[in-house]
Each structure stands twice: as structure tokens, then as C-alpha cells.
């Protein structure tokens, strides 16, 4: 039974970890190749990986989405989408989608004259589900080996786990001081009742056993 408890705890933290990995910002050093806009059909469950614009009607299942095509330093392609996050989750408060589109188009460069940029994004790229990370900002950098230290992520995760730990420790202390003694009292009274029943049964059982041939 202990395995079940550990399995549930593990699954819970794996889920929390994946949500954090999806929503926290990452930086990619890429060369922007092109930008385009395409109509997307968002009528299945992968809708959760696309933004919900503030002014979109609830029943609309397709809309135009802007994309930014880029190539990494090792030559592999990566495509970002460019959508508003608005006032909702994840809380980037990105309203300047059109501006970002313009900036990205401005930074388009060719292979023989590359202009390397650092794209800050969140989300996952999955070819099977056709989901794209959402580009938040684009910044010009010196070369393809620009690799910044993720300060915000470090601070955020430290604060987050410190908070979780603080609450967990206080919950345990509260449980030990208030709830456990109460449960022990209840258990004691249950045991006492069990013993009393046992005693009564014991006499009848012994009389019955006296009839069995031993």
C-alpha cells in the first residue's frame, strides 16, 4: 500500500513539474528565417496548448495565428507561434503581439549573413500534436553561442519550493499538535470497545470449543 501513496505523490509532482516547465520562460538563440500567418483549426483537445484571446467568441474554433520560423545554431528548425496571452494564464501579460511580429520580421536574415537573436518563449514544440511554443520577446545577440543564465527561473523556483516547504512543515506541526492526539483518543476508545467484545466472545468460544474433540 505504501507503493500507491508514493506513486500518487510522484504523479502529482510530475504534473506540477510539467506545468512549471511549460509556463516558465526559456531562451533560444536562433536565426529568424521568416514570419507567416495561418488559419488554425482548434477543434480538439490540443486547444489547451493555444492561447485564448480575450476578444474571441466562445464557440469559435478557428482563427488566424501568426508564426515565426527560425533556425537554431545547429541547423535544426524551430517554429514559434505569436499570440497574445492577455490577462490570462500564463501571466506574461503579452499584449504587443503585432509589435513582436514586426520586430521579428525586421530581424529576418539569411544563412550567409546571419543575425542571431535570443527568443524568449514558453511552451512546448511537439510535431505530433502540432503545438508550438509562444514567443514572448526577441532580442538581438552577438553570436550563436549566447547562453544566458535563467535568473528569473532560478528565483521563481527557489521562492516556490521555499513556500511549499514552509507550508508543509507548518501543516505537519499543526497535525502533530492538534489532529494526531485526537485520532489517538478515538483509536484508544475503539480498541477498548474491541477488547470488551473479545472478552464476551471468549467465554462463548471456549464453551463451544469444549464440544470439539481435540
Amino acid at each position: 500500500m505504501g507503493y500507491v501513496k508514493w506513486a500518487i505523490i510522484l504523479i502529482f509532482w510530475a504534473f506540477v513539474g510539467s506545468v512549471l516547465h511549460y509556463a516558465l520562460p526559456h531562451h533560444d538563440t536562433v536565426r529568424i528565417v521568416n514570419t507567416y500567418e495561418e488559419r488554425q483549426e482548434l477543434n480538439d483537445w490540443t486547444r489547451i496548448f493555444w492561447a485564448v484571446p480575450d476578444d474571441q467568441s466562445a464557440t469559435l474554433i478557428n482563427r488566424d495565428v501568426q508564426f515565426i520560423q527560425a533556425v537554431r545554431a545547429n541547423g535544426r528548425p524551430i517554429v514559434y507561434r505569436n499570440e497574445d496571452t492577455g490577462w490570462g494564464w500564463p501571466f506574461y501579460f503579452k499584449f504587443d503581439t503585432a509589435n513582436l511580429y514586426t520586430e521579428a520580421a525586421d530581424k529576418v536574415s539569411s544563412k550567409d549573413n546571419p543575425e542571431w537573436v535570443s527568443v524568449m518563449h514558453y511552451g512546448w514544440r511537439n510535431e505530433f500534436l502540432s503545438i508550438f511554443p509562444n514567443a514572448i520577446s526577441v532580442k538581438a545577440v552577438d553570436g550563436p553561442d549566447y547562453s544566458p543564465i535563467p535568473w528569473f527561473n532560478i528565483l521563481f523556483l527557489t521562492a516556490f519550493f521555499a513556500l511549499v516547504w514552509a507550508i508543509y512543515v507548518r501543516w505537519r506541526r499543526f497535525r502533530q499538535r492538534r489532529i494526531d492526539p485526537m485520532i489517538e483518543d478515538v483509536e484508544d476508545s475503539l480498541y477498548a470497545a474491541g477488547d470488551a467484545i473479545e472478552e464476551r466472545r471468549g467465554r462463548l468460544r471456549r464453551w463451544l470449543d469444549s464440544w470439539k474433540s481435540k
Partner: protein, 89 residues
């Protein structure tokens, strides 16, 4: 605009829950400290209950308690800062 109001409402509810929870927790920590202080000091005479009640009354009027209202202010400052950094820099 309606999404903004939705965010406002959800945030308000969460902030109120956090404010009430933090106030209760902070008050109980203060109570524990008062009781521990009374028991530690040999020079304490008189009723422990009265001492703790007086201490709690003083705490209720203190600045520290008003600081917990920061739970309402800090997220909004952070949101405004984020919007400025994200969209205008």
C-alpha cells in the same frame, strides 16, 4: 476587458483567502510567543491569560498587522511592472 475583470475577481478572492489565512496564522504565532515568553520569565507574576490577552490587544493595533494588507497590494504592483516591462521596454 471582461478578461481583466475575471482576473480581478479571481485575484480578489485568492487575496482575501490569503489575507484571512495569514492574519489567523500570524495571530496564533504571536499568541504562542506571548505564552512562551510568560513561561520563560521567572519575574512574571499574575494571570497568564490576562497577560496574553493584553499582548494580543497590543498586537491587533500594531503596524505589523497592517502589513498583511500588503497581500492586496503586492500582486497588483507586480502585474503593472510586468505589463510595463513586457510591452513597453
Amino acid at each position: 476587458m471582461i478578461a481583466l475583470f475575471r482576473l480581478l475577481l479571481v485575484l480578489l478572492v485568492l487575496q482575501t483567502i490569503a489575507y484571512v489565512g495569514l492574519s489567523l496564522y500570524s495571530r496564533s504565532v504571536r499568541k504562542g510567543k506571548l505564552e512562551a515568553h510568560w513561561e520563560k520569565k521567572d519575574a512574571m507574576k499574575g494571570d497568564k491569560q490576562a497577560f496574553v490577552e493584553r499582548g494580543l490587544q497590543r498586537y491587533d493595533q500594531s503596524f505589523r498587522r497592517k502589513l498583511i494588507l500588503g497581500v492586496y497590494i503586492v500582486p497588483w504592483v507586480a502585474i503593472v511592472a510586468l505589463i510595463y516591462i513586457r510591452n513597453y521596454m
